[in-house]
Symmetry: C2
Subunit: 132 residues, 2 copies
DNA sequence: CATTTACAGACTTAATATATCTATAATATC
DNA sequence: GATATTATAGATATATTAAGTCTGTAAATG
């Protein structure tokens, strides 16, 4: 069990966008180059963040991506969920009459992790803390 | 990102063994049947628990598997680590001079989850609570 | 000695992650 | 309006991992 590289790309890209201008979009070319990933692939990942409403894209010359929400609203969990999906990490599909106690424990554990990811915001790591 | 089915098999098997006799071993045939998995495949999974020192196997007629530790010593995390490995869920292999702040946050989150899994013992779910 | 059981390793199949490629649509600039 | 620039979509390809099978071997029982 591992977080995907796509999640890593998404997180790093978002951090860059938080530090960048909220007006002037940043091209995928530039975003990709600094992470050593191909622009087309990164673009595909970022499209999911667009659909999740976290960033917006501007096509055409001088286009690119920029935040669509306030920095403070963006949590780690938002980004991870947009890329990895929101389903539970552990799913017990056995049919043992009663509910599965093991699954209950696993879900509790996952919630501990999610709580931390939900309460940590990207802006907390940003260089450019114009917030507060 | 998902926990593997193998982890689910391992957890359920361990719970059965906790409820079973600490002396008389339970055959993989029986353990597999109740989970709807093939005996050879389950056997392969259980071998990893043997190597991790959590259970022991008895070959030959009337053989099988039984716990090698006290019930109380076995945590969820032990089992999960034996199957999934112990490496971090998130690994940032970019070289951005400094340490990766994103990775730090991810690691903290993982530790929250692990803490819960480490403090929850299999015996807590067992039917046969001869402990305490 | 024959039967029962776990173990080991090679192999297969299926699912998912990680891309790449090509064509299309939208926009700015000249 | 023409052209260059940029994101988007969809098909396809490759690599990695998970999930499972098969066969033979070793150990213990009776």
């Amino acid at each position: 069990m591992k977080f995907s590289k796509a999640t890593n790309y998404a997180l790093h890209t978002m951090l860059m966008l938080v530090d960048a201008s909220p007006i002037k979009p940043v091209g995928v070319q530039q975003l990709a180059e600094s992470q050593g990933v191909s622009p087309t692939y990164l673009s595909k990942i970022l499209t999911r963040l667009v659909k999740a409403g976290m960033i917006e894209s501007v096509t055409g010359a001088n286009g690119g991506y920029r935040l669509s929400r306030k920095k403070d609203d963006i949590t780690f969990l938002d980004i991870i969920h947009a890329i990895e999906g929101t389903s539970s990490l552990f799913e017990c599909d056995f049919l043992h009459g009663e509910e599965c106690l093991i699954q209950t424990v696993m879900k509790e554990a996952e919630e501990k992790m999610e709580w931390h990811l939900k309460t940590t915001k990207l802006a907390d790591l940003a260089q450019n803390k114009t917030t507060v």
